[in-house]
Symmetry: C2
Subunit: 454 residues, 2 copies
Amino acid sequence: MTDKVVIIGGGAAGPKTAAKLRRQDPEIKIDLYTQEEIISYSACGLPYYIENIIQSPDTLILRTPEDFQKQNIEVHIKQRCLKVNTEEKTVLLEDLISDNKYEVNYDVLVIATGAVPIIPNIANIDLKNIFTLRTIQDGIAIKEKMQTSKKAVLLGGGYISIELMEALVQNNINVTLIERNSQILKMFDEDFSQMVTDYMIGRNPGQVSIYTNEEVVAFTGNESGEVSKVITASGKEIETDFVILGTGVRPNTDFLEGTGIKLSINNSIKVDKTLKTSKQGIYAVGDCTDNYNLVTNRYTWVPMGSTANKEGRCAAINIAGGSCFFDGILNSTITKYFNLTISIIGISYREATELGFQPEFAIVTKRDKAGYMPNTGTMTLKLIVDKNTQTILGIQGIGEGDVNQRINTVIPAILSKTKLESFMNLDLPYSPPYSPAIDPVLNAAQIIYHKING
Amino acid sequence: MTDKVVIIGGGAAGPKTAAKLRRQDPEIKIDLYTQEEIISYSACGLPYYIENIIQSPDTLILRTPEDFQKQNIEVHIKQRCLKVNTEEKTVLLEDLISDNKYEVNYDVLVIATGAVPIIPNIANIDLKNIFTLRTIQDGIAIKEKMQTSKKAVLLGGGYISIELMEALVQNNINVTLIERNSQILKMFDEDFSQMVTDYMIGRNPGQVSIYTNEEVVAFTGNESGEVSKVITASGKEIETDFVILGTGVRPNTDFLEGTGIKLSINNSIKVDKTLKTSKQGIYAVGDCTDNYNLVTNRYTWVPMGSTANKEGRCAAINIAGGSCFFDGILNSTITKYFNLTISIIGISYREATELGFQPEFAIVTKRDKAGYMPNTGTMTLKLIVDKNTQTILGIQGIGEGDVNQRINTVIPAILSKTKLESFMNLDLPYSPPYSPAIDPVLNAAQIIYHKING
């Protein structure tokens, strides 16, 4: 019988688990420990707070410890988990205010410790005004520094840097993005990555610089210990007022060393479809867990707020004695740069080739509404199909038009391995304000079908 | 061997067949006959022309006879088909300019004669300024009359009347809609129909009246023979400057009587998945054909421009010796009334019950983006699932938020009969400008799953 549930981690997955578990079971004892001061917030909203689309960071907070208290969920802030003893069923915690250490026992433990930024090994990385963006405090610090700055450097060309680029450009900062790979957004095919690069530079020429194949080797600082220059391997010296490291994250699982809890790719926690770890009575949810990719049928690690919420919900149902299976993910991601929507689902053509599929693709550039309607937007879609099974492996979409509608239309077809022949005549609803008579995504499917089958 | 293809009908399906066939086969002889003067136009765009969102009717024309001539496709306008002789493989045509009748032979005949408005049996329906809206000429006549009018009456509460209501309200006309059923939009459940009614009346109180359960029994006219009043069975007398009949359409197939070409529901033409009719060498495409409903597994008749285009494309491939199957439709429709998107896919809860399914449903009202983002819109979704198979039967969506994205996400899942348990954890891409962390459509799926499985 489960009497006492201990949840470690206060980002998205932990609080979601707590809230859902309380709805499933009004009696069970729930304690949530987090090393942060703020819990249950949307980290994905931080770039929009920095941009000033959202004025107060409080807006990003879904529930406070007091809200949880009312539901009889005890939230303990500023408490870091140091160790898990799976034999004794205890966790060792450290009170970050008093430095006291103490043990707490559990019947069920939920690990929801999320991910932490990867700090690259670069000379003088400890200088002031070199930020990462993960917590609300990080966001507040960056926004404050931005107000008095003119120049910034972003390290890494992932979604977070794209979103921060928008935030900074909108606030009149000159921004240099430095990516050590040959392209930004490395999950995309090269052609689509280049389209984003061109759009970003073209939108604000002179204000935005993007360097690829470029490694940062050192920072230099001024007499106050603040970063003032970024030095690259090719000899560039870029003056800057601050730096944001968008150089990736890793699962926050170091404290599990020696517990016997099985780890997976990138040291994420191995979980089954019910979110159970390898140790009895211990669940893991959110950014600290591995993910099963339903397209490649391989384990992967894709930390996403939406997955964290679904996993938290599912784990809570299982802890309460119900049955919920989280089958896996499709690598679905989306972001925007001003009016440009940028999205990829499944795998790219390059990845499909690397993984041994026999991919075929079609690229279409189309308007999102009937051509004669006002305010149409264009989009470019790249649909990727496996020639052997004639099922969809992925889609990339970029454009000022309604990309996300098309992307979303493909996702259930990827999940269900719908045959291309059925998909290309899919009965999507047609009306001039919503789409052309034959939707762009069906155009792409028809082209591939023709390529494969003549 | 196919030497000569004759296509009858110049709306959407006929010209699409001709254009695609020419791409498939550069040599084949193609002749297209239409009783209209204008071919290859988007009838769906006519309400937006009347509203004045589109200024010129020419904008709605995709291709002119001259465009077709350049592709070596002969277009013969103002030629009405009177008879088909399936034994001799000839069609009897009437030249509407000279009244001459003549025969043309074919190797392959494509019937694409579309649909025509149903003219209800109401006293004095021949009065001036009682319009239907089907052709570009109809649209021009309505728009012209609207310029000098103050009051209008719309008969019928289908999509066309909703779209015309917007056009007329936007042009400062006082509009009365009269529907003889107990609700407008009869394919929707009553609750969703009522939401649309409330929105329409609430948006322009005093300017919009909607009467249901109301039958028009007569029109009265002035001394110039123009309609001036609409008389209803309940005794209402509604003054008006013009009337538009949105009382439905029927397949334009009367001329096929006695040919032995098998007809189907509502006298639409029975076609197989390759768009062949029951007579060798004769295809039919577009609004004049029946449709297979993949949700109910029954034949139905749902004339849609998108289906017409897909069927035309598919028939052309088959005529040219290729292989294309058009499996069927999902009853997918969408329209808008100003900012309100209105859509239904599959079947309603009521229809599901009538057809013997064991339906369960969930209604959710949610914002379309993360709650803290600006410019969020709300939407109400009603998802309907069959309890026995736990697959989705339909979805209705109404709202100022991004309804169509959610609707489109459900469609491939209906097609592929995706299990609710898989669908409710579908990996939809999440970013605050595009959706909440758990998308509204997944919320709805989770609620139904919980209702059915506890």
